[in-house]
Symmetry: C3
Subunit: 158 residues, 3 copies
């Protein structure tokens, strides 16, 4: 579909920021990528395909995201791993006015304190974002993880 | 090289669709990304570098792709894995009129029904695609797999 | 931030070339992506975060890169592996005149001669590049590897 170049770039930048802010442990910056009225959810692909209601993590407004990051800061004094997201090209699905929907696949690797890296999770993002000029904010992010073995008490977001 | 922005976007969208259609098990949609006169081939890097004729999979027109997908639908009643492609940035090589050539690296992960994900194959795509306005169709895709251990009877395309 | 479309494309092309030239063992082409006055460094994330001076590899001009590639050509008569980089979307940080700074995450896989692929390293690139029209040259590349177990005598660049 035809998408204005500026919209494409804003959405691509948004996802690059999404990944780097988590990977550099700037989770407070990650929260700021979301709109005040927002929704963040982690589900497994199996649940989506069988239309089951289970979710691994769900925050349905920005304050819940803030709380989650704050509690993470207090519980995990020493971060036991580094995250690394590598995201594929965006597939833009469509828009309603300034709200754009798109999908992108991700691979997420974790490196432990001994310096060993391993594949942690793969899947895709289903995203709605509001674009205004060169700026974009996340309205809804659903992480659909192919990997079902993600611990239900996720330490850091995917 | 200088490439019109619309061409870049059309090619990037095409590869995003390529990956997502396989990963979401929409193989019929994947076939529709190809031109009627098309060529799809999976080879190993070793064979390319030594100029050997072996191919792991070869369909030299769209009906062969259709047949392949249809037979896959009948043989595999239960899909034993999920695919997940993460594709890197496109490197556009050049064009002859509306036919553009480009390459892109891929990583392909598989997740089994127990929810365990693993690296399945890495390599690159060598692609020719026809671009008309915002629309693009695949003319030729050669998958050059670094990984040589891919089973010769590939269940799903790479 | 607002970035001219031509600059974005030049930087994206540059990184696509960076990855493919290493992966196809065209290391001489890889060197030519750098400016005459350039800096290439591989460090670990741990060292960056603790502000330690250790580097795994450092070439502070283009001749050092040339020397390194030439010595690699003489030492390794038979290449014991294939590299494969999959790079995520670029996050452009800013510019001073024609010098642009950006970051991008990478995953690097290696395939041995038996055809087995494995994850070798993940991390991010911190890059400065000079852009002139559609052409870009690397001024400084710092590879910040999450993976600390990379051998200190790196055979090929990351």
């Amino acid at each position: 579909m035809k998408v204005p170049a500026q919209v494409r770039q804003a959405l691509s930048d948004l996802m690059a920021q999404y990944a780097l802010s988590i990977d550099e442990n700037r989770l407070e910056d990650w929260v700021e990528l979301f709109d005040e009225g927002c929704d963040y959810k982690v589900v497994t692909r199996e649940n989506v395909e069988q239309d089951l209601p289970n979710v691994l993590m769900w925050c349905d407004n920005k304050n819940m995201l803030r709380d989650r990051v704050e509690s993470y800061r207090h519980v995990n004094l020493y971060n036991p791993h580094y995250d690394r997201h590598v995201i594929g090209p965006l597939s833009i699905v469509g828009n309603h006015a300034s709200i754009w929907r798109f999908e992108a696949s991700y691979s997420l690797f974790q490196t432990n304190l001994e310096g060993e890296s391993r594949l942690f999770s793969v899947g895709r993002y289903r995203v709605e974002a509001r674009v205004r000029g060169a700026a974009a904010k996340l309205k809804a992010v659903t992480v659909i993880a192919d990997t079902g073995l993600v611990p239900s008490l996720l330490a850091t977001p995917i």
